[in-house]
Symmetry: C4
Subunit: 247 residues, 4 copies
């Protein structure tokens, strides 16, 4: 995606970095303005100022989008890239007049933060994470599949135990899925919990299995990060050998 | 269990994969129908359609069972296998007329998902998990034993502190076991919690030990996965050496 | 502690293992009886039978204690050992007439479970855990110190923010310590939580640091287990080299 | 910071260690006194004694500060060091008459505990942690950035789903941030939770991603600790090689 970055001259890189930082500050300011607008007891004067700030930021982001399209050597490299689409989504809704619905896209632009970091000294860490995710990709898919099946089994199980005792909160398998999510993630809001003896024993059993499954991602990350780190030489560059074969 | 899979021809494999995918979709559809049936405010028309869908799926699964028995070269290899028993359990209750109780068996059939994945590119990840569990098997048993003893000790301890102050929720050691499960898994629903000073200090102490024990599975998984990964060569195949002896 | 175990003959070992298993079953039975006795709605007849069961188990455990003293070659090896003291504590209170207070000691006797496992095939796993704890001993002490300081800082911090708004639940630093325990362990019962804006921001900050600290034990266990495993040769025996020096 | 420690004579070291221990006990006593003072139902006599204890400890800490300034060979080495500033902050407010506000600084002095431990046998563990943090520094910054962006996205998302249904608790993005903190850390107090179907499904989705992010620090710590341990030789000293290159 950023293969041209190291090839480009140092001056252009420096300018782009300052430009990126300026846009980043504008994104944070505009997100803060959006958040402040949601406050219930806000005065009309403040709301007016926030709307003006929103207007300014949208025009800035539009200019930024045009500038980025102009700068990209093959135009489609930017327009159809992940950040190109995000940048368009962040200004598009405003011009269509329904400026609120896709406002969340603007916060996705915060991901640009990592592009800046990537250019600087954080490149090694970001690349290591990227490599670790690639290494553990298949395990992550397996884990997500197992977690989803466990969630469904937990919901069906608790439905059998609690649906008669608490028809309000455990009324259907879908209601029970909410309990399963809150319980197996160990969030435990306390809005739904089993009250029958059978339901409590079932909860214990499913938690013993569930905590084992929940501990898998931590293990995956640790294992994949260790392997990703091993692929580097002393200067943090990727070395040729793909797997830790000691022989 | 699937030793004949790689030996079988590519055509039969391809057909079986599409067949498996079709059955998988039917399982998901029938599970969704079962879940929808539990919704309280469902109309009679919808219920009728869901029951028809159930009828269709049971006949499909019956046909699938007979087909699988027919396909297996030594018949008992399938009939007495894990999936063979699950497949039978998923259709058996319907013909006996008490179609609801063993309906949970149908969701176990979702485990077939992994068989499909196993055939495809996810085989390495699944085998690595399997190997990791075998490596850490003894530690997992030890951990489960320690966790159960800790749960009982926590329940007996909190009973001494809270049974007088809260006779409703901490009335017996069994009541307290529910508190111990909710607390040591860090779910913390909030339906039972200590209110005496002694009970709170005891909770702190047991949580310090408990969090250490809870962190064990993550460590086990990480350690076992790293070792399982080391047993592979660059192509993901198992190599001869059983332990990482560097000499 | 059990240095004589491998040296003793196979017959004596076999007998001791069956004897240990019998005592273990008796411990579980007597713990179950103790737990049942705490049930509020228990009938007098059942209570009488449970008391008789208690009487039988105490006499059995007394006989077991005398037998173990008789069996130990230097008597003090057993009498002053960890299990010797636990065994005495489990029968001692009964004869002194205040049979309930030290009843918790009986559940500690469940630790004997590990002695049985240790004799059998679980020896490698248990020894590996033991070695892992020895390796990470200093880190564990450091972590506990850091966790205690963090708990105190969290309690003092939230006291400043919430004591005026919620004088009932955040009335003193000691009240706040209970909140700190429930929050930093992520149990979150929901009986105490901040309601002021300052308190909520402080909670966020302390949780960011706290989750980092909480993740330390999982990392310690993973790291120490990997190192403990490396110390073994292919047969699971401890090898001479104490640290993984590759040169 | 303590480069002169190993160079200094054994006698001076021994004296400083006893002196440090004495100051540490005084810090714990004075923190306990401060905590006791916050208890609501405290008598006037007790309060008077606690205030006297406070007076004594402040004078002791003042003497300690002057002594430490006198002992430091280049005075500014101590005065402008981390502990020098903390030591000053702990006594400064008392003499200015607003003795309570910066009292929290006193508990920071407990960090001195680690200096004592560092002098003793815990030096290897503390240095290993320090090295592990340096190794994982860039990953930690990346993780914190990702966690903050996820928190904001979660808050904006739940605001769209729940602000109409629960205007009291999900009234603005800032209110929703509190929900996001309590949920993604899995604390789950139970004071705020989604009640709409959309909000519950969104919570499930954000928790699946969030638990993955939360598992990152455990993986980072495990991976960094393993690498830090590898940098040591058999005696726990740092060896020359900076990365585990086996070739």
């Amino acid at each position: 995606m950023h293969a041209d970055a190291p090839a480009a001259g140092t001056k252009r890189q420096k300018f782009l970095r300052i430009f990126d930082l300026f846009i980043l500050v504008m994104i944070v300011v505009s997100l803060l303005a959006f958040s402040l607008e949601t406050l219930p007891g806000i005065s009309n004067t403040t709301r007016l100022w926030l709307e003006r700030l929103e207007l300014i930021s949208v025009f800035l982001f539009s200019g930024e989008y045009l500038f980025r399209v102009y700068m990209a050597s093959p135009k489609r490299d930017y327009v159809f890239s992940f950040f190109g689409i995000i940048d368009l989504l962040a200004i598009f809704p405003f011009f269509l007049g329904f400026g609120i619905d896709l406002r969340a896209a603007k916060s996705l632009r915060l991901l640009r933060l990592f592009r800046i970091l990537k250019l600087a000294r954080y490149s090694a860490a970001a690349q290591r994470f990227h490599r670790a995710i690639l290494i553990a990709r298949e395990e992550i898919v397996l884990f997500l599949g197992a977690a989803l099946i466990l969630l469904y089994l937990a919901a069906v199980g608790i439905y059998h135990f609690e649906s008669d005792a608490q028809p309000e909160t455990f009324g259907s398998v879908f209601h029970c899925l909410w309990w399963a999510v809150a319980t197996l993630t160990t969030v435990g809001y306390g809005d739904v919990y089993p009250i029958t003896v059978g339901g409590k024993i079932f909860t214990f059993g499913i938690l013993v299995i569930g905590l084992g499954v929940i501990s898998v991602p931590a293990g995956l990350v640790a294992s994949a990060l260790a392997q990703a780190r091993k692929m580097e030489d002393n200067n943090g560059n990727l070395i040729e050998v793909e797997s830790p074969s000691e022989a």
